[in-house]
């Protein structure tokens, strides 16, 4: 037999298309982390005293922690003194509309396929854009504010809505939660803030686009979404970064709060630079995302399409506190070359009649390692809690790995937890069958992968499903041959 996995391998060797750097004046502080760094960040952002105190408390707690070692990923030690904690494109002046944004910046986002102007305006998606450490612009702000929806950068929220930020920041992910959450709490520089008032169904998709541009800069964004009683919001984040040989750290925290009968749908299309085909460079994506179904009958749904990053470590979770609340997690994680992903979710059932559903689709190619790690916990009070988990892995070639680590803790006898897992492989037989019908190997793999991921892709808002599908196709380009 000739090179058995040859065809497959060549079809997944991809070129990262977002690897360019924007040449723009950037306000950068010196590398390194200390109380002074934090004071400087807080000062640059003109923050109130309480915010600085909160940051310093987090920093001092972080100093006592050690980096977690349990994820199924390997990387050299991170030198936290070798990172730039604040980098902001100049001018820092607050923009009222996107038309005032630096043309170079707008061009950058055009190149990324995110037209901040017309296209989005037509499709009715409000966008907040975060480049390196700061939010550059938020669109549709005015229209949204007319119905009481607040959608702005978190920096702005700290200035304009301190009472909301104070009340909710750290309420779902405490600063002491874990190593990277503590670090983020100390040094976060920007991110998005959404507040949907009682009874309002947000009429458009809210979306934040994260871009790392500056070399050696870490991105530590913080997102906070609050849905008041009987409100609804669908939110989407997208991410890219330039191609660089050094690894860059991205340690974000996302907190969601859903009150009674509120629903939050949070979608992520993550395409950070994954490193080159030999595993050089790429983003370390160490993220803490958690939602709290605080009120009865509330619902939080996470959908993620993860194709980028050298290492991904994230477990978007839901705490099902309210009775009858619902948590969902839909994930497609694609790893190629030397990428590593350890991702999954936690569904913590506390209230009665709470339900959760987990659908995880892992696709591994090249030499990559793809792990699903999920916890389903039903507390003592969680009468009639239900969980259904389905974890499917698809292997492209025979040098990659797929792993599943389900953890189940049930303390209430009436709770029912179901788990199903499958592993399949795109075989040479399948490729030959497709090719014999005139479908080349690359198209065949895309067809099979799309079929495999369909259930999750269908959860994405329409506007992004097409983009996500294209992204998946681009990431796989060359993975067969």
């Amino acid at each position: 037999m000739k090179e058995k996995s040859g065809t497959l391998e060549q079809a997944v060797l991809n070129e990262y298309k977002y690897g360019f750097v924007t040449d723009i004046d950037t306000d950068v502080i010196a590398k390194g982390l200390s109380e002074d760094t934090i004071r400087l960040i807080s000062n640059k952002k003109n923050e109130p005293e309480w915010m600085l105190d909160w940051r310093l408390k987090a920093y001092n707690h972080w100093l006592k922690l050690v980096e977690p070692k349990w994820p199924n990923v390997k990387y050299p030690p991170i030198n936290y003194q070798d990172i730039i904690y604040y980098a902001a494109p100049k001018p820092k002046k607050q923009l009222n509309s996107l038309d005032e944004a630096d043309p170079e910046l707008l061009a950058t986002f055009d190149k990324l396929g995110i037209s901040l102007n017309e296209q989005r305006r037509l499709t009715g998606v409000a966008v907040d854009v975060v480049m390196d450490s700061v939010s550059i612009a938020t669109s549709f702000k005015k229209q949204l504010s007319e119905i009481g929806v607040i959608f702005c950068s978190i920096s702005e929220a700290i200035q304009e809505h301190p009472e909301l930020v104070k009340k909710y920041l750290g309420s779902v992910v405490p600063m002491t939660d874990n190593y990277f959450a503590a670090l983020n709490s100390a040094v976060f520089t920007d991110g998005s803030f959404c507040f949907i008032p009682k009874g309002v169904r947000c009429p458009m998709e809210l979306s934040t686009y994260f871009r790392i541009n500056t070399e050696n800069a870490g991105q530590f964004e913080r997102t906070l979404i609050i849905a008041e009683e009987e409100s609804y919001v669908s939110y989407l984040e997208g991410c890219t970064a330039p191609l660089r040989d050094e690894n860059q750290l991205h340690a974000a925290v996302v907190e969601l709060v859903a009150h009674t009968k509120a629903e939050i749908k949070y979608s992520t299309v993550q395409n950070w630079y994954p490193g080159d085909k030999n595993g050089l460079g790429g983003i370390y994506n160490f993220v803490t995302k958690r939602g709290m179904c605080k009120g009865d009958h509330s619902k939080i749904s996470w959908t993620q399409v993860e194709t980028g990053s050298a290492i991904t470590w994230k477990y978007p979770s839901v705490i099902l506190k309210g009775d009858h609340s619902i948590g969902e997690f839909y994930s497609v994680a694609f790893t190629n070359n030397y990428q590593q992903a350890d991702t999954g979710t936690k569904m913590i059932h506390l209230g009665k009649n709470t339900r959760s559903r987990i659908v995880s689709k892992g696709i591994s190619a090249g030499h990559s390692q793809n792990s699903y790690r999920g916890l389903v916990r039903a507390g003592k009070q969680a009468t009639n809690a239900r969980n259904y988990s389905q974890c499917d892995s698809l292997l492209l070639g025979d040098k990659c790995g797929a792993h599943t680590f389900p953890y189940i803790e049930v303390k209430n006898k009436t709770a029912i937890v179901e788990h199903e897992a499958t592993t399949s492989k795109i075989g040479e037989d399948q490729l030959f069958y497709c090719r014999q019908r005139g479908i080349d190997a690359e198209t065949a793999v895309a067809l099979i992968v799309n079929g495999f991921a369909k259930e999750v892709m269908n959860q994405l808002p329409m506007e992004f499903a097409v983009e996500a599908q294209k992204l998946l196709a681009v990431s796989m380009e060359g993975s067969v041959g």
């Binding site: 000739k2 058995k4 399948q430 019908r437 005139g438 479908i439 080349d440 198209t443």
Partner: protein
């Protein structure tokens, strides 16, 4: 249309085809018979372009082109179709989507516009009626959980959709009930025209009752050891392969 000259092919260093010669002209139907393991499917795979098989000698021309120089997918797009002896299951990909991709890839190759949804549907309906295939099968993942007979029928359906110049049917009749056999034969007969040719690989005379072959070949131990008309098939049915293979083995021993 197809001219196979002295083809030798190996798998894992073992020679399976030991000098095959075969000429098929437009409009003809050829049947290949032969004992298990003689190399019939290997020949089909080599013609279709399966990578695992290494062609060590010989050449093949197909519609005037050097077949072995074409990629697997281009051979298909040029009009070579293989109905698999063991059709492959592809979870998650609906049969309809799969066929649509196949039809449009071929059209692209031929410089034609992709079929619009309406025309595609119309074509599907027509061919579905022809091979009497259940619509519900087509919305399911391709071949996944299909019964043996359903898989075979699906192969014929795909053939009908792709309208190949040369259809190689590898034991498409095996595992079919009498009705299915008749329907499958009808599908194949319908495709017959002066521009097209069919290569039937089969173990049974009964298929040849429905599809009259112009020539019958016996493949044994990697070689075509006897060729004849449809009477040869009848003789094989009656006497078994021994009357030919014994003779071949005898000559080989000498």
């Amino acid at each position: 249309m197809l001219s196979v000259k002295n083809i030798h092919a190996n798998i894992d260093g073992r020679e399976i085809l030991k000098g095959i010669n075969l000429d098929i002209k437009p409009g003809e139907v050829h049947a290949i018979m032969g004992p298990n393991g003689s190399g019939k499917s290997t020949l089909a795979s080599v013609l279709a372009g399966r990578d695992e098989y290494e062609v060590t000698e010989g050449n093949v021309s197909f519609l005037g082109k050097d077949l072995l120089g074409l990629s697997t997918e281009d051979r298909a797009r040029e009009g070579l179709f293989l109905a698999f002896q063991y059709p492959v299951e592809i979870p998650g990909v609906s049969t309809t989507n799969f066929i649509k991709a196949a039809v449009n890839e071929k059209r692209k190759y031929l410089g034609q516009e992709p079929l619009d949804a309406v025309s595609f549907l119309k074509m599907m309906k027509e061919k579905m009626a022809l091979v009497e295939i259940d619509q519900r099968l087509l919305s399911r993942s391709i071949n996944e959980g299909f019964s043996g007979g359903e898989k075979k029928r699906n192969e014929v359906f795909q053939m009908a959709m792709l309208e190949p110049k040369l259809a190689i049917m590898d034991e498409t009749d095996s595992g079919l009930d009498i009705d299915a056999l008749r329907i499958v034969a009808k599908g194949i007969n319908k495709l017959r025209n002066p521009d097209r040719a069919v290569l039937l690989i089969t173990h049974y005379q009964r298929l040849l009752d429905y599809i009259q072959p112009d020539y019958v070949h016996v493949l044994y131990n990697g070689r075509i050891v006897k060729s004849g008309t449809k009477e040869l098939a009848l003789e094989l049915e009656e006497k078994g392969y021994d009357f030919i293979t014994d003779e071949v083995d005898l000559t080989a021993d000498q």
